[in-house]
Symmetry: D2
Subunit: 419 residues, 4 copies
Amino acid sequence: MALPTITNQELLVERFRSIRDFSLKLCKPLEKEDYVVQPTMDVSPPKWHLAHTTWFFETFLLSPFSKDFKPFNKDYALLFNSYYIAAGERWVRSERGALTRPTVDEVLEYRNYVDQACIEYLVNHQLSDREKYILEVGLNHEQQHQELLLYDIKYILGHNPLFPAYTDVKTKPTSSVGAAGWIEVSEGIYEIGHQGESFCYDNETGIHKVYLHDMEIANQLVTNGEYLEFMQDGGYTSHQYWLSEGWDWVNREQRKAPLYWIREDDAWHHYTLHGLQPLDKDLPVAHISYYEAEAFATWKGYRLPTEFEWEVAARLTEPDIPEYSNFVEDGLFGERVGQGYDFFGNLWEWTSSPYRPYPYFKPDEGALGEYNGKFMINQMVLRGGSYGTSRSHIRHTYRNFFHPHLQWMFSGIRLARYK
Amino acid sequence: MALPTITNQELLVERFRSIRDFSLKLCKPLEKEDYVVQPTMDVSPPKWHLAHTTWFFETFLLSPFSKDFKPFNKDYALLFNSYYIAAGERWVRSERGALTRPTVDEVLEYRNYVDQACIEYLVNHQLSDREKYILEVGLNHEQQHQELLLYDIKYILGHNPLFPAYTDVKTKPTSSVGAAGWIEVSEGIYEIGHQGESFCYDNETGIHKVYLHDMEIANQLVTNGEYLEFMQDGGYTSHQYWLSEGWDWVNREQRKAPLYWIREDDAWHHYTLHGLQPLDKDLPVAHISYYEAEAFATWKGYRLPTEFEWEVAARLTEPDIPEYSNFVEDGLFGERVGQGYDFFGNLWEWTSSPYRPYPYFKPDEGALGEYNGKFMINQMVLRGGSYGTSRSHIRHTYRNFFHPHLQWMFSGIRLARYK
Amino acid sequence: MALPTITNQELLVERFRSIRDFSLKLCKPLEKEDYVVQPTMDVSPPKWHLAHTTWFFETFLLSPFSKDFKPFNKDYALLFNSYYIAAGERWVRSERGALTRPTVDEVLEYRNYVDQACIEYLVNHQLSDREKYILEVGLNHEQQHQELLLYDIKYILGHNPLFPAYTDVKTKPTSSVGAAGWIEVSEGIYEIGHQGESFCYDNETGIHKVYLHDMEIANQLVTNGEYLEFMQDGGYTSHQYWLSEGWDWVNREQRKAPLYWIREDDAWHHYTLHGLQPLDKDLPVAHISYYEAEAFATWKGYRLPTEFEWEVAARLTEPDIPEYSNFVEDGLFGERVGQGYDFFGNLWEWTSSPYRPYPYFKPDEGALGEYNGKFMINQMVLRGGSYGTSRSHIRHTYRNFFHPHLQWMFSGIRLARYK
Amino acid sequence: MALPTITNQELLVERFRSIRDFSLKLCKPLEKEDYVVQPTMDVSPPKWHLAHTTWFFETFLLSPFSKDFKPFNKDYALLFNSYYIAAGERWVRSERGALTRPTVDEVLEYRNYVDQACIEYLVNHQLSDREKYILEVGLNHEQQHQELLLYDIKYILGHNPLFPAYTDVKTKPTSSVGAAGWIEVSEGIYEIGHQGESFCYDNETGIHKVYLHDMEIANQLVTNGEYLEFMQDGGYTSHQYWLSEGWDWVNREQRKAPLYWIREDDAWHHYTLHGLQPLDKDLPVAHISYYEAEAFATWKGYRLPTEFEWEVAARLTEPDIPEYSNFVEDGLFGERVGQGYDFFGNLWEWTSSPYRPYPYFKPDEGALGEYNGKFMINQMVLRGGSYGTSRSHIRHTYRNFFHPHLQWMFSGIRLARYK
């Protein structure tokens, strides 16, 4: 497992504080009531995210390593363990929204207690490599939950018939779409997987070679306008574009448009973090299930890229993660990203690759080994990060994954084709 | 339909204020978070009760009768209509717990707005008989929801693994159980149904005669101690005591004890409004489904009374509703009632009577006709009121009703037998 | 428990043979394939009925009383016990249609084996009263299953898109409907329940008095033509006629007409035992759920009779069961009955009475005690027998019962009103 | 699309007859009753298979190409279309077991009618390339359903508590397991996909290169004995070996052993086509879900091969499909295969590859395009054929696929590892 990049104590504490505080910043616009509910299985109450990320540091760093540490409340382990079987009993996931206690204020106290203990520990001890690694996992874990927080908040507010806005901050999205085009990838052997010393998840490890055939990948994401054409051409009523399970999903769930698209006064609107707004055709189409992404690509006569094609193309085109101004760190929550539609920080881009282990993959030890490997079935890989992803969290090799029917995450479509 | 008892304006306003305020008093011990959730289909968020009872006055009194009245928020009609099809579209019941907005504070504003409008209307208009009747229905409706509020609050707190108490007020229940005995009812013709001018629901109307055979009814409710004997004698594992659907329920739901009974440290506890406490064997057994009530009676060699036997016996024994000090008006939430276990204000007592219309029953007009009649199938009648029922709300003829598998209400067992 | 009517051995053997043979006669028109399937939970494979009724005699008569009797196949007890928990393990009901073995021929062998053993026992032993009673229960049980056989066969064939006919025998229904009218029942005390020495089920026992108010009951059943008017007046789209659970049922199941009504070539047809035929408006409307029956009565401004009103009116009007020529004994399976629509042998008539024990009801001993009592919840009483009921099986006091949503039995509507 | 191999008319007719007849041969041991039922969603009634394969020739060959052809019965199209949306309406899959008509005899007539029409057409017309291709698809389709027939028959008989045997033919399986060992595959670029003129499915097309790393693949399948060790080591109670969805499956379905393993008299038995038999530890473990296969491999410290590794290793080791004597053509239905456990004709071997399109994959035109492509999600690839696969049906490049939780097919485990 790669070693963490952290080199000195002050920086480490600063980084810890800043990431932990950002979770709270994300929740600022919420009312107490918004913290509690779970309108659907996949959504967790915001309060739960705040507590679970805290439990993570308590359970994996403080309890095993910090001798004098006393848990804040021994009952919390049951409540805030998500899926780590090796870490003990868990409250059943579907019932997270039934828990009104501990209150938000008590959860904030809990965070504060654990933060103080962590910082004290960081300041007073020389961390071992394992401790550094666990800390780094904890911080990346927090960043993942920050993005989930945004998904869940958007779901909670966006499924309320009053359609409250999450933020008043007006973004000025430069709606100018760049010229559509294709980026070439040449046939040959490529190396895939995380290289170097910096942090990565275990699912990116196992450097290995893949053989790619000549292909081209789109230089920007599919827009709402393009997706509307698919809909107007009968996309949701024509079985031939859909995977069989996708077609069942469309009919069972009565899908007629992406999630958050709402027909009102004879015009399409979409719920955004700024509230319900008329559909902007130039924005990339978002909240797309894999089924919809593949159906769209089939209708268009193209396909989705594999995760390997994506990784190679992204590295060729953008060797460094760009310094976009609308990453969540900046508090500007747009539904799109600056100039042009590029590989990072717009939307998670569905690839045609099922989520499976790389050759030589070895899961981490102990409960942390449950982080990734056990989910490697029936899910598809997404790449590139979204406007809800922290810039310090994303990488060329980063593998996100969701079940093909899900829509509540910030997902979009990039097309590909063989030459 | 019987006319309301209200005779003068000041009294009416006073009564309105006092009943409306009591809903808020009941919610005092809650945290904001407690107001929002719906841990199971039958439970509604406390916030929803506060808003729905307000919507009732707005929809059935102010909107049709008060010329200048403007609804507080036109979107609320969708959110806070419960099941009145004739009153328009409704938010689906199972999704009440997904609504974080309006917030508790906004709901309180809503209540205040409607209360002001009501009081102004009461003060400035001479109410017609129909208006008086609707007002009275609205107040009784509010009292019913006050009791449901208690059920739902208890469910929300009692299913939280931290088992928070609802109230710190210590009741001093006089645990002395009176001498068990039987009350006789003689064979003959009896008149059933609400008589006189005072308010009643439409389901109590249709005065009619029934023929009763000689029988006896217990002078007190079955206690936790007696119920424990049933359990220890294999009550939950012996099919012969159970209705077939009850036996299926026991096995499907893996029932082994009443709701809120918890085995801890090798002893039975029960969750009460004062928190988790060692089981008090002298208290009447509560949170009993009809299936359990009938199984217990069968095991004991007795039966449950019919609702007619109950009504006759209660009227003979207690012609007036007693002035018990532990009705919810007094803010003393005990799990039992003063001296002896009598007919009113302990627990709702399951009768063996299915909930069906009386002869000559005529549902009320319009949407209010949906109040009772449409539920007259697959439910059983309960009588007598519970410690969560306002004393001004209960009557000898009052018919409560629940599905036979439900347990979250304050229900108990009174036995009967033929002579 | 009442004693059986059987007085001499030859008659008894003759009666046994004749009833047992009639089950086979009913199955004559079937193909082997028709014997096996269970298209819905409530339907049992015809093969299963033939075996289960045999198991009944084997288990309750031969095994306990006939010393030398050896069961045909010890594995059959598991397969052909229906719901008698006291009689041992049971194959789960919903999986009856998965059992291709034993084959039909093996089941016929099983019947033959048990029939021989029974007859031998009847011939060679003086039956005790208990044995006589059990035999009589067994024969009545077989007659009940004969009627269920018809329901299930009709369901199996009537849900096949090829709509095969069950029988070619042409009935000549005299379509002349009598003059509609009302039969009066006067206010007073009446005695309810089975009297005399003849056989009855335990649920008819407990002779007791009821008080009836002045009322009138229709002299014939509601016809297809009358029901069509209800449909054309928006019956299935108007919530106000329906019980709340009925309205949910209509919408969930998308009901628009009675079971077996099929819209084809712009006209209503109904599937009958003679195949798919144009709707005959003069026939009594059949395959009606309780929800539909009550909704129709409400729409019409009337109500359904209670089971007590029905019993009193039937006894007054037809003190003897009439000798109708189209009872199933005669092999003439009509969808209606001779002259006029009278109380017996047309369709089971929904009453407004929930199925509950009579006063003084005592279930039979042992496993036979599971015959009736444990089903006395959430079901409604039907009276009068249908064209699928053997004439020797029906009585004025006979209480049939079904859940309110069911339609596959031969059920219809008779109206009532207070004077 | 590759052209069919058929070169002359007599051979073609002979091949047609022989494959069609083999379906009937497979059904010989069945009772009429066995043909009808559908004990679980994935199982189809044997009768349905016989009719559906006939419908295939009728719909895709005769109707479009043979001018004078008249369908046997126009209602059959609805009943026997499986999932071809482009070919019209379909009877809902879950209700196949409700159809008792057409009878088995009528289905046999239907087969005969269509067979005669096909043979006549083959004899009297010069087939175009498209017709030849469709005929070939039809024959391969029939062979696939022959294998499904065996799965379904085994399921129907093996879930009957009487455990009837399918066949009395005693196989003499040579239980001698070869010496376990590993076959090496060297790192490098390999070509994948069907080459040459012979028939293949569209999912095998798209010849492309893959890069394999040095690895080894087991020379035989995992045995019952080895699997038993996994069980005895707590395999089914240790979460760490399982994918998360696999672990949920184990607990939800209460799995403790492979399908058809039955604990009786304190010893493991398994239901086979010869009836219930004591477990033979030397046979390859069968009826394994993907979840079980991967859990076993993880426990053992190895992994499953990718479908590419499998294809390369199989081609290296066995360039020709061996002439095994226990393919179903020979009517010898063993649970294992002759000498040694090789790549073909034992059990379908789970690979670690999700079922996705090959590069350059193009689905067939029209309704036949629904044959494969639309299922390429959430399923895993299996390779090699089973003892239920016709030898003329299997190829090195053949891609079978099932959902990871399924067990009713003839599936097993071959291990792999990196060097």
